[in-house]
Symmetry: none
Subunit: 215 residues, 4 copies
């Protein structure tokens, strides 16, 4: 799988201090690894899209042998995934304002902001590539979607605890109804996608829920 490749390099000695057994042979060059990831993002943001991105170009831009790329990433897809996730690991935290609707809306605004930025091209490339590469799509889910969604569950549970939501709500249905429209406009581009769209969706989807509850 994609995420098994590059991310571990920096953290592999993290568990305990110095008694770790290093494998024999010249250790992997952290410098090359980062240079490759950096060049991947750079070229993706510049150039056309996922299919236009060539490993040849990445290696050249990173001043690295093609072999070094292939040694660590089995496919272009895995590389792009790592490059993206390495650069976006800790953003997109959920706020905690006391109102679950406000929390969701704020986080959805951040997603939209990213989708509209240059990094949006990388997400689009990832999802596009994922349509013909199930591992790539799985990497997107495992390393991007699920981590965020787990935080979203907590936010929604807070809403339930506060009585803002029915206890028997289908959380996945709610979340897909909130984010689905964003992904749709992001990928199909049939209508404008600005941050206020987050509020509109929340207004439509969550208002109804709250009303239902208040009766």
């Amino acid at each position: 799988m994609a995420q098994n490749h590059a991310q571990s390099a920096g953290a592999q000695n993290g568990s305990n201090g110095n008694s770790e057994k290093r494998p024999p042979g010249r250790p992997r060059s952290e410098e090359s690894r980062q240079s490759i990831l950096r060049s991947t993002l750079k070229l993706l943001k510049q150039g056309g899209g996922f299919p236009e991105l060539s490993i040849e170009a990445i290696a050249a831009d990173a001043n690295v042998g093609k072999t070094t790329v292939y040694r660590w990433w089995p496919t272009k897809a895995a590389l792009v995934a790592d490059a993206f996730f390495a650069s976006a690991e800790e953003e997109l935290q959920f706020p905690n304002t006391g109102s679950f609707q406000k929390d969701m809306s704020l986080q959805m605004r951040r997603v939209i902001r990213i989708f509209r930025s240059e990094r949006g091209k990388v997400v689009a490339a990832l999802l596009a590539g994922g349509q013909s590469d199930s591992e790539l799509l799985e990497a997107f889910r495992e390393r991007f979607l699920w981590p965020k969604r787990r935080q979203a569950y907590q936010t929604l549970h807070r809403g339930i605890d506060r009585g803002e939501l029915p206890a028997d709500s289908d959380l996945d249905l709610i979340l897909d109804s909130l984010y689905g429209p964003i992904y749709m406009r992001f990928l199909i581009r049939h209508d404008k996608l600005d941050e206020s769209f987050a509020d509109e969706i929340c207004g439509l989807v969550l208002q109804g829920l709250k009303r239902r509850e208040q009766r």
Copy 2:
């Protein structure tokens, strides 16, 4: 643009009998055209996705010279678009049951049915390819999304006329909230996408609207 290419061929002599000026030389082979479109769909359904589909393979499978493909379609994207739309032009009509929610739900079920079928692969390829080819995405919108959406507007207007919906509803917001979750599950595949999902979305999104109205 993509759709300007192939569709006129079959109909060019249809309007009136003899005043049409036919250009000299051998006329275009309708047989080749259809064979190419057929092979395109076939290979898309078989093989990986948009990037894996090669014009070389299409021409070989269709028993056609590569030149013939390139003569009539400027890009692979245009060809795939034509191939898909030629095969799906008249399906996905909206029903008219008297309840706009039932109408929407029924049509959403049909969309899901298509997405789950082999033709779903073609849609996915189209949207994936569209991420790095704006003309392909535009073709998808112009020839698939907008025609359906125009029908959806009518359905929603019927709902407004019947008082099922507020008159000032943001129709695009509603439609994206209904279809967005479907596209999201279709493209990201993080959760199951079966036809009952249509009902669930309608339940969540439209119930709220109706409640809001009923107050």
Copy 3:
């Protein structure tokens, strides 16, 4: 086999004038073919030897796609063989002076002259490459050695007819004894190889034969 590849291109319509059925498709580019052969010889004469010669470099020097080289020659060896033989097809004719010893000596001098020239490098490359490529060695025999040797047989037969040689002479033994020393000095380079060496060998090997006869 090597010689089945490129040589036929120029002569394929030679049998009859115009009723020849040409195969469909774009015909092979005679210009490219010759450019490739020319560059092959050029680089072989310049550079190190057979292993140092790269098809990449040949294609670049000939302003030709690598594919074009691979389309027509299965291996580098076959290409080098064609390049050499195309350039040396009709030289090395045997003279007819009335004395078979003088005929042999003159022709051996020509062989030495070629071995000492730049073309010698190509022969060396051919024989070196042939040690790990039996087809290359076979090409050398079929297209270089045997044609010359057939002429040599005639020369020796003339000597027999004139009574200069015993009628029961082992012609192959004689010829290997005459040319073997030349090849040995050419390939091992342990002693000087100039044209007078031809006379010395003839003096040693053929003198004895003639003496034997005269008794």
Copy 4:
């Protein structure tokens, strides 16, 4: 030069016991050295030829780091030369039967026997590689050809002393005339090379010389 490298290792402490100054540090592993030479010969006999032999494969087969190979042999050629000569140093002694022709013939038979054996592949690889690596060819001459030839000179001188040969004979010409045909058939493979060929050559080349003398 090639032969300056590995041969000294085994013998460096052999001359005298303790006055040798051994440098500090871990001494060279004799085991590795022999394992490398053994694997080199093994792969040469198995595989294609000199160009197909890779140092990578040798190191792997010998269970040795690539560095160890490169530390002791500057080029693949030097390694192959050492491997061959280490295995053939003391064979091919000339006999002394009382007849120089019989002596030559017997020794030539031994050469042919070696050329026909598996070790012949190594000789062929050596001479092939030598065509584009003058040091390799020089190693062959210095460590194989000249040592044998010095013995051959003695054999021929015995023949002169016994009156079997003219005193003014060109020994190099004679030896090239005797061995040239063998090398030629060995390298070009246009005719069969069995041990009786040695007698035939001697019969042709030396008979003439003896006749000339007897007059």
